[in-house]
Structures are given as C-alpha cells and as structure tokens.
C-alpha cells in the first residue's frame, strides 16, 4: 500500500471537500482526498472518521508532528486512515 509518512504541508477544507498534502521530508509531496462531496460515503461513521482526520491533521500541522497517511488503494488518493505518532515501545523492552 502506498503509505506516506511525513509532515502536513497543507490542509484545505471546503464546504464539501477536504484535501491534505503531506511532505515526506525528501522533497516529495503527495495530495490526498479526505472527502469529496458524497465520496467516499455520507455514512455517519465515515463522516465521524473524516472529521477526526481533519482534527489530527490540524494538530499535526500546528505542532509539526509526523503523520502516516494510508490511501484506500495504490491507484487512489482517497484516505483510508490517518495516524499521528507511531506504535512503538518506549523503553519497556526486557533487558
């Protein structure tokens, strides 16, 4: 899956659309669609997730935090998930 890890370059939210551009730190950026009209869905659960993605990306942009954005497929710019921070152990490994 064409996942990208980087910082938020831009977050554009309109009436019916939301885009974000992620900079992977090597000079490459990629533009993703959070939602676009009724796409991918107007289902309340999906809308809740989309609202939370906007909040996460806003937070990441404000504090220059790294995010991991995963699209729904290799050919699509639609976002499947937005992750803020990493699932990593922090000093709790056994000696």
């Amino acid at each position: 899956m064409a996942q990208i890890t980087g910082i938020v370059n831009c977050l554009l939210v309109g009436d019916d659309v939301a885009f974000t551009t992620i900079d992977d730190g090597t000079g490459f950026t990629e533009t993703f669609i959070l939602f676009f009209g009724n796409n991918p869905s107007t289902d309340p659960k999906a809308r809740r997730a989309q609202d939370m993605w906007v909040s996460l990306l806003q937070e990441a942009k404000a504090h220059n935090l790294t995010v991991i954005v995963t699209p729904i497929s290799d050919d699509s710019s639609y976002v499947a998930s937005v992750q803020l921070g990493r699932f990593e152990s922090s000093g709790s490994e056994p000696l």
Binding site: A2, D15, T21, T31, N39, D74, D75, Y78
Partner: protein, 137 residues
C-alpha cells in the same frame, strides 16, 4: 470505505469556484491517439508555453509497481516526451494506463479522475495547475 466514480457535474458542484481546482475541471484538448506516448507527443507543444525558472519534468506512471510503464515530459521551450522514468520528476501522475488514456484524450477531466479515486498526484501541485492552464490556452 469505497469511493465511486463521480460525474463531471458532481465534481463541479463540490469544488464550486475554488480557483486552484477550477482549472482541473476542464479536460485537456481532445485529440486522437492510440497510446499514452502518442497523446503526450500531441500535448507536449502546449506545455512548451510554460515559463519556468528551472528544468522541470512531469512523469506519468501506469500502476504503482516498479516494473510499470512510465513516460515523462521534460518541460522547456521545446518540451520533449521520453519513455521511461525520470530521476526526480517535479510532478508524478499515477493511474492505470486506461485512466491515463481517458485523461490524455480529453474524455474525462483530471479532477474527475482524481475525485473518482482513479488517480494519484505526487509532487508540485502548482506545476500541475500551470500545466493544465497552459494546455487550455
């Protein structure tokens, strides 16, 4: 979460009058061609109108595997089409070959393909905007 193909009307209704996206609502000039390379050869002279400070390249990638087909246009006073990957393109458009053909033949607009979940854009979106404007002149 599945995305669906959007009609040109739906795409236009969602983007409204956003100046950044408006330019992507219009398809590229219609023309005949059997392959991605043929369409690029047809469209490249239009891209020569772009006045850019640095040498830029736009790459089209059919699919997302390393062995997938790639073409690039080196932009300049005489833009040229090259088969194969560019070392570091300023802009990369990733889609299936069928979708690339639809966009390059002018059958659908770039924004219809993008909003329909059929196309990805990596790199300088401003360059994409300038290129789309140059093709419509």
């Amino acid at each position: 979460m599945q995305n669906k193909k959007l009609s040109a009307k739906e795409v236009a209704a969602s983007t409204g009058n956003d100046p950044l996206m408006k330019v992507f609502l219009s398809p590229v000039p219609k023309g005949k061609g059997k392959s991605v390379a043929e369409h690029l050869e047809r469209l490249a002279p239009g891209l020569s109108k772009l006045k850019l400070r640095k040498v830029n390249a736009i790459q089209l990638t059919a699919g997302s595997d390393d062995d997938d087909a790639r073409w690039h246009v080196v932009l300049g006073p005489e833009s040229r089409v090259v088969e194969g990957a560019h070392k570091r393109p300023n802009l990369e458009i990733i889609a299936s070959e069928a979708v690339l053909l639809q966009v390059l033949s002018g059958a659908i607009s770039p924004l219809e393909a993008f909003a329909g979940g059929m196309l990805r854009v990596r790199g300088d979106i401003r360059l994409a905007n300038l290129a789309a404007q140059a093709l419509q002149r």
